[in-house]
Amino acid sequence: MKEQQKIINIQVSQLKEKVKEFKNQGYRLVQISCTRLENFELSYSFDKNYEFVYLRFSVAKAEDPIPSVSGIYWCAFLYENELHDLFGLNIKDIVIDYKGQFYTTAIKNPFGQEFKQEDK
């Protein structure tokens, strides 16, 4: 049975406002993830009574600032530190900022680089 899932495309500038709306409507934060394409595609997933919705936006470069939502959903600080350490994303004002010390990785921001075809 395939679950119905709703995507809402937004701009990074709308992120905090949209996340606040979900919080006020009683949604729980399910996860935050990033996909390395030519840019960085981010998904913020929410659930309420088994209704799954996610916000989607992209940033062109890892250095582009993304506002933290950990002031709205405190638990987001884990996901945001993960995104910083694995993808090198520049997330601003995380409530607990490990400044790159959350994950111990052999190479810096390992998920931030694209595999070249010859690596496969």
Binding site: M1, E3, R28, V30, S33, S43, Y73, L78, P110
Partner: protein, 359 residues
């Protein structure tokens, strides 16, 4: 103001089978704050998807965890099947359900044993794990593996369970149920156990929900949320009511897990009655092109597999949000204000699986 001291807890600690680190800020014996650190053994398996054929990756997904390995493999399959529009045969869905619930039973028994060990009740620990061995034997008889089953595949399952074998499993579980009742009486009624669990690490309903907790941790705070309600595998035909407890303490988390063992046995009984004869797999043709968040209920709670394909045999992204990762904020909440001596038990009450978290 009392002097504050920071005590490092882990990554190596007698109650931790896997490495997680907590900086415990204490005032005398009272913990006022806990700051976690993970990532000591992060394996980067999500990145590996870009170099492994999506069909073969089921083997890697199963190895993300050594306890709920089957559900990891199955959830990966559910995600890929949703993207590719594959209809899995009903018999395979029921077999997936049976192995999922056997996984839950042995995982909860493992947790009961570890918790008994944490508060020094060695006999109870050994009895819990002795019973768990019987479940592992059933898994071995049906799949050939005790930890890594290797039975999930995209489009169905690799092996069937004969009808007489399913009947024999239910018979064994009926016998096992009596033994689990015996040990659960000790867990739930023994004064020395209750002394360590009742009223310890209370997580309110609102906090559990706001902090994104999942699984037994969430349900033991009174929130009736169980991903099996979504109807994946055969849960669209099998009745599952989320087991909750309003108390929110360590004892409630123990109660919920014990009741879930009995619930899983009942689910397998229902599956035995409802399973149909038929194929166990369909042929997979093509490559995944699209995206989907697959959600299933692991013993520790909701697990998420995000699958994104671009029409090639290598997925663009596979992301796993494990239940332990989601339960870390709830753990930090209950640790603040607890006694230092309760920290090991509280860490265990979220049933941490660092292997999953360090996928």
């Amino acid at each position: 103001m009392t002097k504050r001291t920071i005590i490092p807890f882990g990554p190596q600690h007698p109650v931790l089978p896997e490495p997680i680190h907590l900086d415990l800020v204490v005032e005398d014996e009272l913990v006022v704050e806990a700051i976690p650190r993970i990532g000591f053994i992060h394996r980067g398996l999500e990145k590996l998807i870009e170099k492994r054929d999506f069909v073969d990756f089921v083997y890697v997904a199963e190895r993300i965890c050594g306890i709920c390995s089957f559900i990891h493999g199955m959830t990966y399959c559910v995600g890929v099947e949703a993207v590719m529009g594959i209809e899995v045969p009903r018999r395979a869905q029921y077999l997936r359900t049976i192995w999922s619930e056997l996984s839950r039973i042995h995982s909860h028994l493992l947790w009961l044993g570890l918790t008994a060990d944490a508060f020094g009740f060695e006999n109870l620990f050994m009895n819990s794990w002795r019973i768990r061995e019987i479940v592992l034997d059933i898994i071995e008889e049906t799949t050939g593996g005790r930890v890594i089953f290797g039975s999930a595949k995209i489009g169905g399952v690799r092996v069937d369970i004969a009808p007489e074998q399913i009947a024999a499993i239910v018979k064994k579980l009926n016998k096992l149920e009596k033994e689990i009742k015996d040990i659960s009486n000790v867990f739930l009624k023994d004064p020395s156990v209750k002394h360590r669990l009742v009223g310890v690490g209370v997580l309110s309903k609102d906090d559990a929900y706001a902090l994104g907790a999942v699984g037994p941790v969430l349900r033991a705070s009174g929130v009736a949320l169980d991903t099996r309600q979504l109807g994946y595998a055969a849960f669209d035909e099998i009745k599952v009511t989320p087991i909750t407890d309003p108390r929110g303490d360590s004892y409630a988390r123990c109660v919920v897990r014990i009741q879930e063992i009995f619930q899983s046995i009942d689910i397998i009984r229902q599956a035995k009655e409802k399973i149909r004869v038929g194929p166990i797999e369909v042929k997979v043709e093509g490559t995944p092109n699209g995206e989907y968040f697959a959600r299933t209920e692991q013993p520790r709670g909701e697990v998420i597999y995000y699958i994104k394909g671009d029409g090639t045999k290598f997925l663009k992204r596979m992301r796993v949000r494990t239940p332990t990762f989601a339960n870390v904020p709830a753990l930090l909440k209950v640790l603040a204000g607890c006694q230092l001596a309760d920290v090991p038990v509280l860490v265990l009450t979220i049933d941490p699986c660092i292997s999953c978290t360090e996928r």
